[in-house]
C-alpha cells in the first residue's frame, strides 16, 4: 500500500478505539455459547474439528503470509484465520476424518482467502468456500454427524477415530452416525411421506422449535449474535433480513401445505440458520456494506436457503446461499449507495 505522506501524523489524532483484532475476538467470544451447546449435543468431535481446523487455518495463514512476503505477526494477530477455522469446524460433521478438515481449512485459507489477495480482498467467504468445496467433492463424508443425545465417543476415542478411522471395539460406524433433521425431512419428503408421518417415525427428531438439540444450538448462536449487534460489531440489518425473510417465505409455503412444508420455526432453528445469519452472512469482507444493500443481501440469503433446502440437492444451504449472494455483493452495493448529505437523488 502506498500511503500518502505523513500517514502517521494525519488527523484524527486520537488513539484508535477499535481494531480488527478486537472485532474478531468479540465474534469468537460470541460463538462460544453456541459452540458449547454443539459440544454438548454432538460430543468431542466438535472439539477435535476445532483443533484441527483452527490449527490448519493458522498454519496456512502464516505460510501464505510468508510466501506473499507480508508481515506475519500483525495479520496473524487479527484472529481472522482463527475465526475462519472455527466457522468451518462448526459446520463440519462430527465424524469427519482428519484429512477432510485439513483439506477444507487449507482450501479456505490458501485458495479462497490468500489467492484472492488476503484479508479484505476475498470476494467469497473463505470458510464457506472450504465447506462448499468439501460438500461437492466428498458428499459422503460430509454427512457423518453423530446422533443427538446418543452416547458419544470419549475424548481420546474421538481423536483416534478422526485420525485413524478406528473405532473402539464393539462399536459399529452405523450406530454412531445419524442423518441430521434437515436431511431426514428432506429424504423422507422425497419418499412421499408427510411431515406428521416423518415426525411419528423419528420420535426424537424435533423439539418444540426445530431439530432436537439443534434448536438449542441455534438459540445460543442467536444469543451471541444479538450481543454482537449490541456491541456494534455487526449490523442488525443482515441477520434481521435473513431471519425475517426466511420466516416469511417459510410461513407463506407452510400455511397452505402444513403437512408437506416444514414450519418457519423448523427452518429458523434447525441446521446452520442462526450461525449463518449472525456469523457467516455478516462477514464484513464479503457482505454488502450499504444499509439498504445489507437488507437485500440478507433477504437474498434467506431466499436461497429456502429454495435450496426445499427444492435443491442439498439438505442444508447456508453455505451456497451465502456464496451466491457474495457474488451479487458488488452489484448490490453499487445500486444501493446511500443518498449523500444534501443530495436528492439516490446512488452515484
Amino acid at each position: 500500500m502506498n500511503l500518502p505522506e505523513q500517514s502517521l501524523h494525519s488527523s484524527p489524532h486520537l488513539p484508535p478505539r477499535n481494531s480488527v483484532r478486537r472485532m474478531m475476538l468479540l465474534v469468537i467470544l460470541a460463538l462460544i455459547p453456541g459452540l458449547l451447546a454443539q459440544i454438548h449435543f454432538f460430543g468431542w468431535g466438535v472439539v477435535v474439528n476445532l483443533v484441527l481446523a483452527v490449527g490448519t487455518a493458522v498454519a496456512c495463514e502464516a505460510l501464505m503470509l510468508r510466501l506473499r512476503d507480508r508481515a506475519i505477526l500483525p495479520f496473524l494477530g487479527d484472529f481472522s484465520a482463527v475465526l475462519t477455522g472455527m466457522l468451518l469446524a462448526l459446520a463440519l460433521p462430527t465424524l469427519s476424518p482428519w484429512w477432510l478438515i485439513v483439506v477444507g481449512a487449507a482450501f479456505a485459507l490458501i485458495v479462497a482467502k490468500h489467492l484472492y489477495g488476503g484479508l479484505g480482498y476475498n470476494p467469497f467467504n473463505p470458510a464457506m468456500v472450504g465447506y462448499a468445496m468439501l460438500l461437492v467433492a466428498f458428499p459422503r463424508e460430509m454427512t457423518a454427524w453423530t446422533p443427538i443425545g446418543a452416547d458419544h465417543l470419549g475424548f481420546l476415542d474421538q481423536w483416534r477415530y478422526t485420525l485413524t478411522g478406528a473405532l473402539p471395539a464393539g462399536l459399529e460406524y452405523d450406530a454412531l452416525t445419524a442423518a441430521t433433521p434437515l436431511d431426514t425431512v428432506k429424504t423422507s419428503l422425497g419418499m412421499d411421506l408427510t411431515l406428521p408421518e416423518i415426525f411419528a417415525k423419528h420420535a426424537d427428531l424435533v423439539g418444540p422449535l426445530g431439530g432436537h438439540g439443534w434448536e438449542w444450538v441455534n438459540l445460543l448462536f442467536a444469543a451471541g449474535g444479538i450481543a454482537l449487534v449490541f456491541l456494534k460489531v455487526i449490523s442488525w440489518r443482515i441477520p434481521a433480513a435473513v431471519i425475517l425473510t426466511l420466516f416469511l417465505i417459510s410461513t407463506l409455503f407452510a400455511l397452505p401445505d402444513p403437512d408437506l412444508r416444514p414450519s418457519p420455526w423448523f427452518h429458523l432453528f434447525t441446521g446452520a440458520t442462526m450461525l449463518g445469519a449472525f456469523f457467516i452472512a455478516t462477514d464484513p469482507v464479503t457482505a454488502s456494506t450499504t444499509p439498504r444493500g445489507q437488507l437485500i443481501y440478507g433477504a437474498g440469503i434467506a431466499i436461497f436457503i429456502y429454495v435450496i433446502r426445499t427444492w435443491g440437492g442439498y439438505p442444508d444451504a447456508v453455505a451456497f446461499a451465502v456464496l451466491l449472494m457474495n457474488l451479487a455483493t458488488p452489484t448490490i452495493d453499487y445500486y444501493t449507495t446511500p443518498r449523500a448529505f444534501g443530495e436528492e437523488r439516490h446512488g452515484p
Binding site: 502506498n2 500511503l3 500518502p4 505523513q6 488513539p15 495479520f75 484479508l119 456494506t289 443518498r339 452515484p348
Partner: protein
C-alpha cells in the same frame, strides 16, 4: 425556550477534555518581540503588502491590502518597524514557507487612530460590509473565509435565519466557550450588526449542551436586550455538530444541497468569535489583530486560553502555558479530530488558529494500517452520509472519477470514519490526497488548454506577420514609385510613421500574461503534492 431539534446521521460522542483549559480566565499573552504576519491567513487571494522594510507602523495599521474580492487585508498587530517582507514558515500541514511581513515590536504598542462606526443601523448594509472587510475579519472557527462575503446574501436572497455557531464540538478546544462566558455582550452586539448587514429575520446562537455556563451567561445577557428574534439553543454534544451543514440540520431539519451553500436555503452561519470581532470592528474601530487561542493538551502544565496577537510564535504561547517540551510528542494546530501536526513551532498564530494542542509522548499510538475489511463502521458514523470505504477504495486506486461519483467533495474531513476504522486506515489523509490530486490535475488541464491557446495564437501571429510583410513590400514599391515622382521630400516622415506603427503593434502584442489566480492554500496544496511525488520517486519503500 425549547425548540424542536433534528439530528444528523452518524457522528461520534467523544471525550471532551474541555475542563482542563477552563480553570483560568482568559489572559493576555505576552507581547512578542517580533510578529510574523502571513499575507494569506484566509481563503482567497493573498493580501498585497503596502509597507516597506524599515517603515514604522502602528498597531492596527493596515499593512497589506486585499486586491481581489475574495481576500482579506492584514493589519499590524503591534507598533514597531517592518524588518522583513518575505517568505517565512507558516502553520500549514505542508510545512512550506509563504510570504509574510515581519514587524519588530517597539514595545510601545501604540494604536493607530481608530474610528468606530457611530450608528451602524443608519449605515447601508454594503457600507457596513466594507467596514468589516477593511477590518480583515475572516471566519474564526477555522476555515478563514472572508466574513464580509458571508454577510452579503446577494441581491434577491432573503435570509431567514442567521446562526451563530458556538458549538465548538472538537475535543480540547475551549476558546469559543470562554469567549461566550466572558464576553457575551460583544457576541450579541456583533450578532446585531451581522443581522443588520444580512437583514436576517431570525437569529439563533447554538451551543453544545456541555457548555452550560456559556449558555446561562448568554441567556442572561440577552435579557438586557429587547431582542426576541434572538434565540439561544442548546444542541446535543455530538461531534461534528459544529459543522455548518450538520448544525443547520440539527436546528432546522433542512439539508444544505450537495455542492451548495447555506444561503441557498436562506441561512447563514457565522462563528461566535467572528461576531465578537465584528462588534470590535464596528463599535471600537478595531481591526482583527488578536484572537483567543486555547493552549492545552497533556504536555502543558497550565492549559488555558490566551488572548493572542496574530503573529505571535507558537513557542511563546506554549511557554506561557508551561509547556513540557521534552515530554511532547507533537503539537497540533486545531483539535485532535481535524487539526494537523505543526512541523515547526516558531510559526506564527494566524487568524484561524483556535487551539494549540501539545500531545504527550506516552500515549497509545496509531497502529499500522491494515487492509479495509469493509466492515462499514466508517459509513455508520459519516455525518455526510458517504461510504468512506468506497471513497478509500477508489482514492487508493487513484480512480479519481469514481471517487467523485462517491461524493468526495462532500466529505468535510471530520475524521469520524478514520477514528472508528478497525483497520486504522488514515482515511482522511487519502481523501485530502485525492482532493489535492484532482485539483492538481484540473490545474494541469487548464495549463494544457492555455498552452494550446497560446500555440493557436502563435500560428495566427505568424500568419498575420506574413500578411503584413506582403503589405509592407507592396507599400514600399508604391513608395519607391512615389518618391521617384516626388523626390526625397517626405521620406523621413514616412519612415518615422512606419516605425511608430511597428512600435505600437509590438506594444499591442504584449498581451497580458496569464497571471496565476490560485489561492495560497491551493498553491501550497499543489506544492505539497509535488513534494510528495518527489519523495515517492526517491524512496519508494513499496508495499507496507
Amino acid at each position: 425556550m425549547t425548540r424542536r431539534l433534528w439530528h444528523f446521521h452518524g457522528g461520534l460522542r467523544l471525550e471532551g477534555h474541555k475542563a482542563m483549559s477552563m480553570h483560568e480566565p482568559i489572559t493576555d499573552a505576552p507581547l512578542p518581540q517580533r510578529v510574523v504576519l502571513p499575507l494569506s491567513q484566509h481563503i482567497g487571494a493573498p493580501a498585497e503588502p503596502e509597507v516597506e522594510v524599515g517603515q514604522r507602523v502602528l498597531k492596527g495599521q493596515r499593512i497589506a491590502r486585499a486586491t481581489e474580492y475574495v481576500s482579506a487585508p492584514v493589519h499590524a498587530t503591534t507598533s514597531g518597524t517592518v524588518v522583513a517582507v518575505g517568505e517565512r514558515t507558516v502553520p500549514h500541514p505542508s510545512g512550506l514557507p509563504a510570504p509574510c511581513i515581519v514587524i519588530e515590536a517597539d514595545g510601545k504598542d501604540e494604536w493607530i487612530e481608530r474610528q468606530p462606526v457611530r450608528d451602524y443601523e443608519s449605515l447601508d448594509p454594503s457600507a457596513l460590509r466594507n467596514v468589516i472587510r477593511e477590518a480583515g475579519i475572516v471566519g474564526l472557527g477555522g476555515a478563514g473565509f472572508p466574513s464580509f462575503i458571508k454577510l452579503n446574501p446577494g441581491p434577491d436572497k432573503v435570509v431567514d435565519l442567521l446562526i451563530l455557531n458556538g458549538a465548538e464540538c472538537e475535543p480540547y478546544i475551549t476558546c469559543d466557550a470562554m469567549l461566550m462566558q466572558e464576553h457575551p455582550r460583544r457576541i450579541i452586539d456583533g450578532l446585531l450588526v451581522m443581522r443588520h448587514a444580512l437583514q436576517a429575520k431570525h437569529c439563533i446562537i447554538a451551543i453544545e449542551d456541555n457548555k452550560k455556563v456559556a449558555h446561562t451567561v448568554l441567556v442572561n445577557a440577552l435579557q438586557e436586550h429587547e431582542a426576541e428574534f434572538i434565540e439561544v439553543v442548546q444542541i446535543p454534544t455530538i461531534y461534528p455538530t459544529g459543522g455548518e451543514k450538520q448544525l443547520i440540520k440539527i436546528l432546522t431539519g433542512r439539508e444544505v444541497p450537495s455542492h451548495g451553500l447555506p444561503i441557498d436555503i436562506g441561512m447563514v452561519v457565522h462563528n461566535v468569535a467572528t461576531a465578537a470581532a465584528v462588534n470590535d470592528a464596528i463599535h471600537e474601530g478595531t481591526p482583527l489583530i488578536e484572537r483567543i487561542v486555547t493552549v492545552t493538551g497533556e504536555a502543558v502544565d497550565r492549559p488555558r486560553n490566551l488572548n493572542v496577537r496574530i503573529g505571535t510564535p507558537f513557542s511563546t504561547l506554549l511557554k506561557s502555558a508551561e509547556w513540557r517540551e521534552d515530554d511532547t510528542d507533537e503539537v497540533l494546530m486545531g483539535g485532535p479530530m481535524m487539526g494537523f501536526a505543526v512541523p515547526d513551532l516558531d510559526v506564527p498564530v494566524v487568524k484561524t488558529t483556535n487551539c494549540l494542542l501539545a500531545r504527550p509522548r506516552n500515549q497509545p499510538h496509531r497502529q499500522p494500517a491494515m487492509p479495509c475489511i469493509r466492515c462499514g463502521q466508517c459509513a455508520t458514523v459519516c455525518p455526510a452520509l458517504l461510504l468512506p470505504q468506497q471513497l478509500y477504495w477508489y482514492a487508493h486506486a487513484r480512480n479519481f472519477d469514481r471517487v467523485q461519483d462517491y461524493h468526495l467533495f462532500d466529505c468535510i474531513e471530520c475524521g469520524c470514519c478514520a477514528y472508528v476504522c478497525p483497520s486504522h486506515i488514515p482515511l482522511v489523509q487519502f481523501y485530502r490526497f485525492a482532493k489535492t490530486e484532482i485539483w492538481a490535475q484540473e490545474r494541469q488541464k487548464e495549463k494544457a488548454d492555455r498552452a494550446r491557446r497560446r500555440h493557436e495564437w502563435h500560428l495566427e501571429r505568424l500568419e498575420r506577420k506574413k500578411r503584413e510583410e506582403e503589405e509592407r513590400r507592396r507599400r514600399k514599391k508604391e513608395m519607391l514609385r512615389k518618391s521617384r515622382a516626388a523626390g526625397d521630400r517626405g521620406k523621413q516622415a514616412e519612415i518615422e510613421a512606419a516605425l511608430a506603427r511597428v512600435k505600437a503593434k509590438k506594444a499591442a502584442q504584449q498581451a497580458p500574461r496569464n497571471t496565476d489566480n490560485l489561492t495560497e492554500a491551493q498553491k501550497q496544496a499543489i506544492a505539497a503534492v509535488e513534494a510528495r511525488r518527489q519523495r515517492l520517486q526517491q524512496g519508494d519503500d513499496g508495499e507496507s
